[in-house]
Symmetry: D2
């Protein structure tokens, strides 16, 4: 991985970059608004939403009303020509299928696009069709898009015109597993992931399943056994392992607003007699240190600490801890992220910083 | 398994049985009070608690104040001689280690004892010492105690003087796996269990970790990788499999009052080429039907339904669903229970019904 | 108030009464299903719901799947002729405006109707129009309907053919205030009520405002300053006071599934110099004892205890406590109810018991 | 009120001020750490806590681990001499009674002290004794301390050596009422305040009452009828009204981590015939505009919007809305604050900014 430029101040002598958010009324859109309002090097020039057009950002999101820009900026109907003039970088916070319709003309008009939907995360239009149940709307762009996981694709993001920002579950699974697979430490065919997600992961949609009374005092698996996010998770694990990877993944819905807790059960590449558990532990430790020792947004916990979503909510950090289980010979890795920040909008801003040559942590600490 | 007597009315011509609860001020104790106040064939004659001695049940638990017995019955200091005179069956809702101190003299005095602690769940005093970190206080009784999981030990419970009521996690794991292991359908050495528990599982203890602010908007694993409940889980799985079983078990704390959701990842005894998934599914289906088709408190879901803790909270039912994952060749089984009812006090009352020859569902529907 | 018949068993020699629920898929309907499935003297013969027609009760509400009736009984489209043959008493759990359309023909067909909507709670069609913004659909029936608050209208309910079951906020306000007003102890013109309601009060409706993420970690007033429930509250207070009463009422939405906590600030009829506070306290105490000493579902707390919704959720009890504030000379009264039980379905079953001559607590303890 | 200096950048040419936090392990202390770690003009040089001494800020509060200072700074035992050398301004986040023991020597050593406890909020040692049940530990300092509500005491704070930061309930009540009382618009003797507080208001204390299971799905009044905060509320209202004010105040505990929602019921100074409601509304509107039009941290809502704690949590803003109720002739005012930010630590930082001559919003937007 390439070196990281880290600093929090606005880069000396750098003009601000104009940015726009298309589809800014959902939870990811709202979080993008929050991050970009405070970003030292971004100037938010347009936010669009069909339902909210005409209202100010402060009216739609009262929590931002202390910012003068939020009181002045109004939501507009999405207008491609206008957007292309207003912004150099456009964030798309739209449903899959719809995002591609915006990405194509915006790219043609010379904008850089950071898409938070699933539309450009897959390299294969066939896999897209299998998992999303419709033809890909712009298959030619798939080869051009960069998977926006900075810890894995920092260099490619630097020169990208189209960034496909990863999903929330994929982020919580890929960051803990990619280094282990690349180092050949665990068996690619025996990855079992259990994930617990807060309700904001379902989006701001008026559906009975996500009513307060239906979610509170309830815990439930869903999307079993073939959740859509498997497509991008397995694509990236396959690339890291150098051979096809299929994993077991079970998502659950839990009554918190935000956060994903993922527990991964992995098998060492070479079965562990008890006596070698210590050596394997050292290899895992070294692997994570090499991969994440210098990463600003991955925190490998030490000592007895275990991840807790409350320690990452509102931040762009993924927290992880691991244990070699001497009784079973397996490796447990647990991660926690804010599904809307590192799992969506924060990660998109991190990619934006790389794209624009800003310090990678700008606006994110 | 033996036939189940099922009916809800009070048995004709049967006198009520006097019962007492020792340690009735915790969450399991409170639930025992609720169940026994309403039980058609039990008369609650004594409740003890050092902290609450002198107060009425209605004062300590205002939610029961509509019951005249709750307004009249007072908590007392535990007094063994008095208890032995007041009750034929005594429920112990005490911490492990303490329960044994009561069980021994009560049994000597001729009472039947249903213990909700871990003290008599293990057959081996050595395993007890390994997991509970002190010598077993009454090792001679271990051979006498019956593990109080009615779906597995109904006949033995019928004649027992000492019932060791199972833990909450064990219930949520054993009921889904025992029939599969006995039928030889899954590999005993490859069981992976992820469990999510509500906060009442931690007991009514004044500790910072369980404060509202520390649990709300938080999800976290804990007790990794060697939780105490592994001892009884592996003991029972070993007995069912006919050879030593070690499992992977990761508990998590989630912000609900009650409920455990367990997701089990199992491997078929014979690896599945895709073409045999249908046959394997039929075997699993037949296995669960044979095991649980007539059980009043195990509900195998049909169609697309998946377990949800909110459907079992307040009931003595364990809900389960399973899926054969054709992509991975694994079997996923998901279960939901109320940790305080089927995972503790309800199960204890179910054992009480068996012990006394009452309909097994008495006071539990 | 008339004497209460209190006993929990099924009345000897009494045949069960056939009952039906129209609109059984909302929260109140679901609770009616729960209560009537367990009721010793009611036989649930029909449940209707346009969305759920064809499914069994157990499929729609898995938590009831342990009941054989729930597994056998299917939701049907509402059919008036059939309903009139299937049931002697019909519960309507429908939106206001719609309920009247069912009540009229069912009454003509000889059924007794217990309506949980607002359609028959008001004596004046003009007030109905003012608060519900449409013409009353059956004004002739208003004089016939009995307001179904058993503690106030027990005798009238006994002979009623149409019972208008009270709203949840009204129940939480009227039970604490009616006896005080009737006794002339407080000023009718100076009643200030603040109420906090769980989200189930909004019904099972797919609206953004009631999504988990919008309600969790949120507290907000709403319906200010003229909530619809004011109409029935002020009607009943006016009748009790013998002169027109207008009150201040502010409802709030809080993140719990169930429960209403109401805090009432009242002024003694005669201003209190400090020295008379003790005498006033005695009058209040005597007033509540006379009104509620024998009521099975109103619990006046003693000592330092204050109401807590968790002590009444799942029960048909209203809990209340009061304090004379010597500093301000005012009387504070606080009440807690389960908005879906005593605030809706439990109260409707209580009225049903009275109507049918069953013990008033049948199926409710 | 005096003009506000508003700007977010660090003041040019101003050195950073060294600050310390004594008692930094509670919820207010943690929030002070967060705010001061990010403050452009503060350098956090010491944090003390008996329980946490020796650990780094990042170990105690993992959510701050991304900040290099949090990884380096260790909690220490409180040492007065050392503190006086390390910091120019010391924040005390200690229990009442204890805070005074630190304030006295720190002031003598030349530090400026911002105390978040109740120790210096009252002008009268007798009132302190009445409400806090012990003798005031340093009555001579009461005359010197400034009540740290910036919107009311901005000028006095500027020159203060000892700032007594207001309580959370007082903030939520005083900001809405002080301007109305000063303008003579409402009757001082008829103020009724109902407040709903999140559980963090109880502090990070291991007590059964604040366990998750005891608070979740529960709503309850407490501290009725004479809560300690009444002392400072009535002191400030009395000063604003120019005559003794006694109010009705009922706090409630609700299951959210953070936030206070207060609903105030007020009576116009001159009773309103319906025809004058419009004129009174204009007076209220003008009063709030004059008081808060230029305030950065008070947001008077417009149109139909009502306060919601979720719009202020994590911010230093108090949101308020008001309605004249034409039916009752009363004025309803509703406010929402984050009890730990504007209700505690944010307000303390706001006072710090004034004290040091920094822009008042520094570190708070």
């Amino acid at each position: 991985m390439s070196p990281i430029t880290q600093s929090t101040g606005a880069p000396a002598g750098t003009a601000q970059v104009n940015v726009a958010i298309v589809g800014a009324s959902g939870y990811s859109g709202e979080e993008l608004v929050r991050l970009l309002l405070h970003h030292p090097s971004a100037r938010l020039t347009a936010v669009t939403s069909r339902q909210q057009a005409g209202q100010t950002v402060a009216q739609v999101f009262p929590r931002f009303a202390s910012h003068s820009l939020a009181r002045g900026l109004r939501f507009s109907e999405p207008n491609l020509e206008l957007l292309a003039r207003q912004a150099r970088v456009v964030f798309l916070a739209l449903p899959h299928g719809v995002a591609a319709e915006f990405a194509v003309p915006l790219l043609q008009a010379g904008c850089q696009v950071i898409d938070l939907s699933a539309d450009f995360r897959l390299r294969s239009a066939a896999v897209y069709r299998e998992f999303y149940a419709h033809e890909h709307p712009a298959p030619d762009l798939l080869a051009k898009a960069v998977y926006g996981l900075p810890e894995a694709y920092r260099d490619a993001i630097r020169g990208a015109s189209l960034v496909a920002s990863p999903g929330c579950y994929p982020t919580s699974i890929l960051l803990p597993t990619l280094p282990l697979l690349r180092a050949g430490l665990v068996q690619p065919g025996r990855i079992i992931a259990n994930s617990l997600s807060g309700v904001s992961g379902a989006g701001r949609k008026a559906e009975l399943d996500y009513l307060f009374v239906e979610c509170n005092e309830s815990v439930r698996p869903y999307g079993v056994p073939k959740h859509r996010h498997l497509s991008e998770i397995e694509q990236e694990l396959t690339l890291a392992a150098g051979r096809p990877v299929v994993i077991q993944f079970t998502p659950h819905l839990i009554p918190v607003n935000r956060g994903i807790l993922t527990t991964l059960c992995l098998e060492p590449a070479h079965p562990l007699p008890g006596t070698e558990a210590a050596a394997f532990s050292e290899q895992v430790d070294a692997c994570y240190r090499a991969a994440y020792g210098a990463e600003p947004f991955v925190r490998v916990l030490e000592g007895k600490a275990l991840p807790d979503t409350k320690n990452v909510v509102g931040t762009n950090v993924l927290e992880l801890a691991w244990r070699v289980d001497a009784r079973t010979g397996r490796l447990l890795v647990m991660s926690a992220v804010d599904n809307i920040v590192k799992g969506a909008s924060g990660q998109a801003v991190q990619a934006f910083n790389i794209l624009c040559g800003f310090p990678e942590t700008a606006g994110l600490l």
